[in-house]
């Protein structure tokens, strides 16, 4: 029973973290190259343009949901299960979501990287 709660929390953390990452990546692509913008128009212009992007705040909100689900997940499940399982699944879910929503070309190289890192993160916790 407790295990089911822990996996529910893991699913929620993964979903929220992936949503957050995709929204933040989308927002920053819309803002444009921060380094170039800073050099040509100054830091204030960068901050202004980020604050004028509504999806940025949705992304931060999703990240906050992920953080609080992690806190709740930790009170239901084991630290050594919840943290690595959600971190590991987030890498794979992000590769999938980036392909679907951000139209990134996730080729063999990127898939291999995501899976290697996900497996590695899981192993590091053992």
């Amino acid at each position: 029973m407790n295990n089911a709660y822990a996996w529910g929390a893991i699913a929620l953390i993964t979903l929220a973290a992936t949503t957050g990452d995709v929204l933040l990546a989308y927002s920053m692509k819309r803002v444009g190259h921060v380094g170039e913008l800073w050099e040509s128009r100054g830091l204030l212009a960068v901050v202004k343009r980020i604050l004028a992007t509504p999806t940025f705040f949705l992304g931060v909100l999703a990240m906050a949901v992920a953080f609080y689900s992690l806190l709740f997940g930790l009170s239901w499940g084991n630290l050594s299960l919840v943290v690595p399982a959600s971190a590991s699944l987030t890498f794979v879910a992000n590769a999938l979501a980036a392909r679907i929503f951000l139209h990134e070309r996730v080729g063999r190289r990127r898939w291999l990287a995501a899976i290697c890192v996900a497996a590695g993160v899981a192993l590091m916790a053992m």
């Binding site: 990452d21 995709v22 933040l24 990546a25 920053m28 692509k29 803002v31 444009g32 190259h33 921060v34 380094g35 170039e36 980020i50 806190l71 890498f91 992000n94 590769a95 980036a98 392909r99 951000l102 139209h103 990134e104 070309r105 996730v106 080729g107 190289r109 990127r110 291999l112 990287a113 995501a114 899976i115 290697c116 890192v117 497996a119 590695g120 993160v121 899981a122 192993l123 590091m124 053992m126």
Partner: protein, 140 residues
């Protein structure tokens, strides 16, 4: 990829690792703080370790946003996963923790993953503002 972009990726890795470690170190001073004890959590900001940790995590977020403005999400995430390795190395040096064979395998897999993405292009999407992926080579 310019040298400055590699610096931003390194910044993400180092700031997140150090920020988390400092935050964990500071929270240990407080003892078992819980959500029921909100005032203790608010006062935690006064702990120098916690303050330093928060500053580093803000630096992490700024460099993460900067990287996402010119690189793919599927590039930035694996490229900065060396932070997991960095945590193990810090634990080994600072606290003399043993690294088990399973963890060594994990370190090898993460490093391999980082190598796979780092060898490829950092951006594959064609965006109005960044039409050619390697445009920055002309710039600098």
């Amino acid at each position: 990829m310019t040298f400055r972009k590699y610096l931003v990726l390194a910044g993400i890795t180092v700031f997140s690792t150090l920020g988390d470690s400092l935050l964990a170190r500071g929270m240990k001073d407080l003892g078992g703080a819980s959500l029921h004890n909100i005032s203790a959590l608010l006062l935690a900001v006064l702990n120098p370790f916690v303050t330093a940790g928060i500053i580093l995590l803000i630096a992490f977020f700024a460099s993460y946003m900067s990287a996402l403005s010119w690189a793919d999400l599927t590039y930035v995430l694996p490229a900065t996963s060396l932070s997991y390795v960095l945590v193990a190395v810090i634990a080994r040096i600072r606290f003399h923790e043993e690294i088990s064979p399973t963890r060594w395998l994990g370190i090898a897999l993460i490093s391999a993953g980082v190598g796979f993405v780092a060898a490829g292009p950092s951006s594959t999407t064609h965006h109005e503002r960044e039409s050619v992926p390697e445009r920055e080579e002309v710039h600098s």
